[in-house]
């Protein structure tokens, strides 16, 4: 990671309305050092209530405003919705590590589907490469290498472990958020309301899986690349100074579709479904396959399961 000095610089320079809000909220009056606030100030989203406090009419208004705003910005028909959770559904994800070949198709399918910044580069999925013999000793994430680059994969004597948000049942990240900008919805998706994220990054420190990514710079997705099917709590454009992460493709799965990473996987290693449905793929693999979760000792209760197919 970057040097402590760089980190410090980021913190000073990253001062924005979010930092400012944090200062204000803790009662400190010395706010003159928060000049970044002047950037492209959006009063409406500033005053917007937390998503969970809004009435249906208010939400509709916001969705309408954002759809119009992004349609104009990207010159195409953008719709932002806020489709809610289905009844009797809690999502679970399964990844077959005996199949994964480390091709990273999932990483880029995710970037495209979820409008992740191309430059600066943000990627929600990270694929770690491990020595095969290391698996016999148990997986230590610190030993994983995300930067591997081979002619073809799988490389000999290696195995691969893709990682993103685990959508923990007891999510440490949501507990530390000072503004309530991130929470776990009834279908188990841990969501972020970007309008309420102040960029304090407590959630990033709390997440044991490194799943949350911070927009140090202004994110950048071209009009050509933008995916116009957006969810308010998912793949709509983010701004500098907010945290983002995998949402299980909330804009797809709440309409019954599979996540983008799953469909991109050439070996069929990725499985997704309703944990409450005994006939689902995810329940089948929990019942019939050897499964594990990462860092189970932390009792975060991930809903992302790894299995041997």
């Amino acid at each position: 990671m970057s040097s402590p000095k760089q980190q410090e610089e980021r913190e000073v320079r990253g001062a924005s309305r979010r930092e400012f809000l944090k200062t204000a909220a803790t009662g400190a009056a010395a706010v003159m050092g928060a000049p970044g606030a002047a950037q492209a100030f959006d009063f409406e989203s500033f005053l917007q209530k937390n998503f969970r406090q809004m009435s249906d009419e208010e939400i509709d208004e916001v969705l309408d405003r954002l759809s119009r705003k992004y349609s104009k910005k990207y010159g195409k028909d953008v719709t932002v919705d806020a489709v809610g959770p289905m009844d009797d559904v809690v999502y679970g994800y399964g990844l077959d590590i005996s199949r994964c070949i480390g091709c990273r198709r999932c990483v880029y399918a995710c970037v495209e589907e979820n409008n992740q910044s191309r430059d600066p580069e943000i990627q929600w999925i990270r694929v770690l490469e491990f020595e095969r013999e290391a698996a016999t000793r148990g997986i230590d994430m610190e030993d994983g290498n995300p930067y591997y680059d081979h002619e073809t994969v799988p490389a000999e004597d290696k195995f691969y472990l893709p990682m993103a948000c685990m959508h923990c049942e007891d999510s440490p990240c949501t507990n530390v958020c000072p503004t309530g900008a991130t929470w776990s919805d009834p279908d188990g998706i841990v969501v972020i309301d970007y309008d309420w994220c102040i960029g304090c990054r407590y959630c990033m420190a709390a997440c044991p899986y490194g799943a949350r990514k911070f927009n140090w710079g202004e994110p950048n997705v071209s009009a050509e690349d933008i995916n116009p099917d957006m969810h308010l709590l998912g793949n709509r454009p983010r701004s500098r100074g907010v945290v983002e992460k995998c949402s299980f493709c909330i804009q797809r799965v709440r309409k019954g579709r599979y996540p983008a990473c799953l469909e991109a996987c050439p070996v069929g290693a990725r499985k997704f479904g309703n944990l409450l449905d005994p006939d689902s793929e995810i329940r089948y693999l929990l019942k019939h396959k050897r499964t594990f979760v990462l860092k189970s000792e932390l009792k975060t209760n991930p809903k992302f399961f790894y299995f041997y197919g």
């Binding site: 100030f41 959770p85 289905m86 990483v107 995300p146 599979y258």
Partner: protein, 207 residues
């Protein structure tokens, strides 16, 4: 060129002080807002979303295998005149460039000796090429249940709603079944190639 010690001035737009005061005023409003939500970190299960779709479950549809090389179709073009030869051997006059390694199998464990357009099962029942999964799962029975459940192989479409799944031969070449290696997509940037505000260092971009 990107530099290591960025100039702290570059984020200050003109007139920032004025705006800062405006914001200070607004902040007072927001502080009230914040204190009212801070008490509540638990998921708000009571919240009524504008739309909660309830979709039906639908049986998955088997996609036909991708079309084969038409170089060898129809088989009868040659095999009509070619006397069938059941003897296990190295083929030399035709089909010799084919990668063939599947356990210790021989062509006629799968292909029918008398009807080249068909495959045959252990009990000699004939099977169309499109239904080759019936052949595969006769020997790989343990995969059948996993595949039907969507856990071996791949489904696409809707986890709830219309979905498709794929035949064995769309991932496995029956003549050389291990999944073939692929070129990986590019790795993520290394932290040393990223500037403090998250952009790519120019040197790295031109590598």
């Amino acid at each position: 060129m990107a530099s290591n010690s960025p100039d702290p001035e570059d984020y200050r737009p003109p007139g920032y002080q004025l705006v800062t005061w405006v914001i200070l005023g607004l902040a007072v409003v927001v502080v009230f807002g914040l204190t009212s939500i801070r008490t509540d970190h638990q998921p708000d299960t009571s919240r009524d979303y504008p739309s909660r779709p309830q979709l039906p479950d639908v049986e998955p549809v088997l996609l036909p295998p991708p079309p084969m090389d038409d170089e060898y179709f129809p088989c009868s073009d040659c095999h009509e005149d070619e006397p069938p030869n059941p003897i296990e051997r190295e083929l030399e006059d035709e089909h010799d460039e084919m990668d063939f390694e599947h356990g210790t199998l021989w062509c006629l464990d799968c292909h029918d000796l008398n009807d080249r357009e068909k495959l045959h099962l252990a009990d000699d029942a004939l099977v169309e090429f499109e239904d080759s999964w019936q052949l595969c799962t006769q020997c790989h029975g343990k995969k059948l249940a996993d595949w039907r459940a969507g856990v071996h192989g791949k489904r696409t479409g809707h986890w709830r709603g219309p979905k498709e799944y794929r035949a064995c031969v769309s991932c496995h070449n029956p003549h050389s079944p291990p999944f073939k290696p692929l070129a990986p997509e590019p790795p993520p940037l290394r932290p040393e190639n990223i500037t403090p505000n998250g952009n790519v260092r120019l040197e790295a971009a031109h590598e």
